[in-house]
Symmetry: C2
Subunit: 352 residues, 2 copies
Amino acid sequence: MKRERRFLVLADGSLTPLDAKTAVGALRFIPEQVVAVLDRSRAGRVAGEVLGISSRVPVVSSVTEGLERGANALLVGIAPVGGELPAEWRLWVEEGLRAGLDVWSGMHTFLSEDASLWALAAEHGARIFDLRRVPLSMPVAARRAASLPCEVLLTVGSDCNVGKMTATLELHRAALADGIRSRFVATGQTGVLVEGAGLSVDRMISDFAAGAVESMVMERSEAADVVMVEGQGSIFHPGYSGVTLSLLHGACPGAMVLCHHAGRTAIRHGGNPIPGYGDMVRAYETAASWVSPSRVIGVCVNTQGFPEPEALSEIVRAARETGLPACDPIRQGPGALLEALKSHLSARRSRA
Amino acid sequence: MKRERRFLVLADGSLTPLDAKTAVGALRFIPEQVVAVLDRSRAGRVAGEVLGISSRVPVVSSVTEGLERGANALLVGIAPVGGELPAEWRLWVEEGLRAGLDVWSGMHTFLSEDASLWALAAEHGARIFDLRRVPLSMPVAARRAASLPCEVLLTVGSDCNVGKMTATLELHRAALADGIRSRFVATGQTGVLVEGAGLSVDRMISDFAAGAVESMVMERSEAADVVMVEGQGSIFHPGYSGVTLSLLHGACPGAMVLCHHAGRTAIRHGGNPIPGYGDMVRAYETAASWVSPSRVIGVCVNTQGFPEPEALSEIVRAARETGLPACDPIRQGPGALLEALKSHLSARRSRA
């Protein structure tokens, strides 16, 4: 990972906050490493305008344009359900490899195991990095993280794709800026891309998913005040709830931050209703208690796309229904969460 | 799987109900396929006497003795945490392969991917079956099983290794004998061995664990009154709770049977306390409700090793604390559970 990365991000037809999760994560958290985004349907615009974020990165319609802007790497900026590379994208990946671009992918299907792509990479001196590559096994989790001297904080969510990674990284950065020795544990392909370390827990064999989280938390805990673990999925998600519970019981957090996307009322994949804020807090605290007790200390409301008055009233509602500090860490900054964390750490110290 | 299997079961130093889970499962549910068990520390006895079950299979101390008794296959009868083959066992596996025995293994580490074992098998016309081999991916679960016309029943537990597979198979057999069109879904290596079908869900990539369960339930649901899904792990287990929740949210059972090993008060791997019967029922019903509502309809109490009076009083306690039928399906037979199932199915039909 030593070579400076200048990404052309592939997000064709999917440059929206809900689809191009990895692309948006890269634009938000490693903007200095992104030179262009490929989305033919939005070419000629800038990514920030399309996504409603502050990015001036141009949207282009070909790999050639990315090369002209200095790209030395391709990022596969989607992680579709099931994780297969769309046939058309394969041509761009091949074109990139032929031009010597490294390829970074967050898909379940490893591009580095594709014999023809591998041969192309070798021929042109390019490398393929699969962000979801994880070890076959890890020690089985056994509540080791519950007895750490430092605090562990985990973001938990109402559904997938509600802003858990963003909330974690924003709070982590605010904590560092405030002098708190915070460590970030990346648990998904985008977090691993941004942090340059971590494990995509959803790719672990189920028996070892919690153990992978536990191992990462233990490893990052030294000389830390708080280890912040990027959450995944939701206990309300029919397909991914097992990943979420593995994170909760592997990390044994003392503190959780609940994340929700304002206006979403049902799980996008499955259709079951999303409970109210108060019920979600109780559900996560109950699930934690089965292995190690935990409390939700604040709520992150993703209000992207909402006009200011509606956004603020939703945030107020979240705070009222839970009795906890709430904010939109992007719209308002993570100040309210940082204060909640500081009170929590201080109360923890005085108990110790 | 066409060749008739006559197993020599490897369980050296571990022929106890808690350690040799796969061996015990084979002895209990496919006894006609087991000719001997290898455990040097218990050689000369019979398996039933060692395990407290009704098996006359001899315990031997060498592969040669197994061959003399007509073995044509070796079963690796342990599934240790982490799943590596003990070095000494490797010699027996090699000896078996040289004698042309097929090898069946339930370990996470696939013996069929071991180049030297593979070569040995090829040389001697033997085959290696890894019971935990599963597909890379499956459709992500999306509550499809919640709308099946038939009922789905899942066994859930206080911990690993409390008798979920045994309870499921006993109830399944009793249901079939009673004219109920019951289908069994094997979700672990022993269940797959016994049933000759199924998927070891704990070996699935986390994102697809619930989907694997959902797919199996859908596939087995045709012309069924009830699909019975073998449970795995426990929501109270720090390492395996994710697997358990994947089963619960993938299978969307309308009915659950709670299984507990009498006398166990803490999770063996982690040390956290096991809640009382009533709290366990509430915890599982709560966890189910996040995706699709479910009710515990009965309790299985594994009282192995308890004298009759203590066993019966524990079973009475389980019934009293939950208000549900309870029994030890081995000690007493699964009659009480079968009655609970029949009432449940009948109430379900009258609602439909």
